[in-house]
Symmetry: C2
Amino acid sequence: MPDLPRTPRTTHRRLPKRGSHDIALIHAILDEGLVCHVGFVVDGQPYVLPATYARMGDRLVLHGSLSNRMFRALVSGAPTCVTVSLLDGLVLARSALHHSMNYRSVVVLGSARAVEGREAKRAALEAIVEHVAPGRLLQVRRPSDSEVDGTLVLELPIAEASAKVRSGPPMDEEADLALDCWAGVIPLRVVAGEPVPDAHVPAGMAAPEPELP
Amino acid sequence: MPDLPRTPRTTHRRLPKRGSHDIALIHAILDEGLVCHVGFVVDGQPYVLPATYARMGDRLVLHGSLSNRMFRALVSGAPTCVTVSLLDGLVLARSALHHSMNYRSVVVLGSARAVEGREAKRAALEAIVEHVAPGRLLQVRRPSDSEVDGTLVLELPIAEASAKVRSGPPMDEEADLALDCWAGVIPLRVVAGEPVPDAHVPAGMAAPEPELP
């Protein structure tokens, strides 16, 4: 796949070597994240709220309610920024100021619009469930017509977007290398714990094995 | 501690029972997070970028560079929103649309300002290292005067802020409870992997044990 176009708004000015417009990398980060952070502006004030989402090809889809400030702002076509960040490790240097994080992040800029049509909406809602819990749709009751009709679904094209990645060891000053201090990376990852059945699960029914990245 | 005041901007309209202005809860979530997402507006476009931070009493502190679009916007006093989200679990319901996440999040609204004075800046920079790697400061070279002077440090009062929490099992429709389908919560947590020393660590030097929440 070709890179996405660089725009002035997605050009990395600080540490440009960490920036990328590689579509495959952008998609991989979006597919690995479970939560995005959505930015929107109301009366000049920015808000940032976490949300679930899915990638469908070259679009992000989100679902919500018009009683939510965020979705009311987004459905009116206000500019938005959707950011997904994956924290890969703590970077422990020999000097305080060279401490850092290893991460992969994607920023998608643009304006969302409402997905119209019951089947298109249903497909997006199902994609969000599949994104978080692959295979789950085959086991659960799928969205009814009235559930679909009562839910707002938004899509945002992944057209103006960029990724940023830091990886590898700390970058200490030459003079600090002799300090008597461990330095390196503490890898971090998200893991699933023991499933907690709700009160209505029959005894002996097996829990699903979540597929975390 | 008393609650923070509710403002129209921090009043939860959607699912208000999940919202809180409890200062102790807000502080606990901010202390547990490793990364925040900072929202700011340039030419009407919102941006959301991940950043490291620390809480110092009733302020958040961030550090960066004026070559960074975000810090240039923030130091000029533009309104901002700093959000910290902790993902606690996947909530698997018996119907697609009742799937959810358990999470704890905090939103802090306001305007940041530059921290002035070398010692105040140094204290904030050291707090950020201690937030991510408690105890680390005692082992590493602390910020030199020129490092402190060359770094922009911002503070944001935790004055207009709110928390939002979802916990517990899925909320299925009564009619779905009889479906032959597991339902419940898959707890998620961040864990540290095997430390990766950099190329300059002497053989046999022990790695630190990170204190993750």
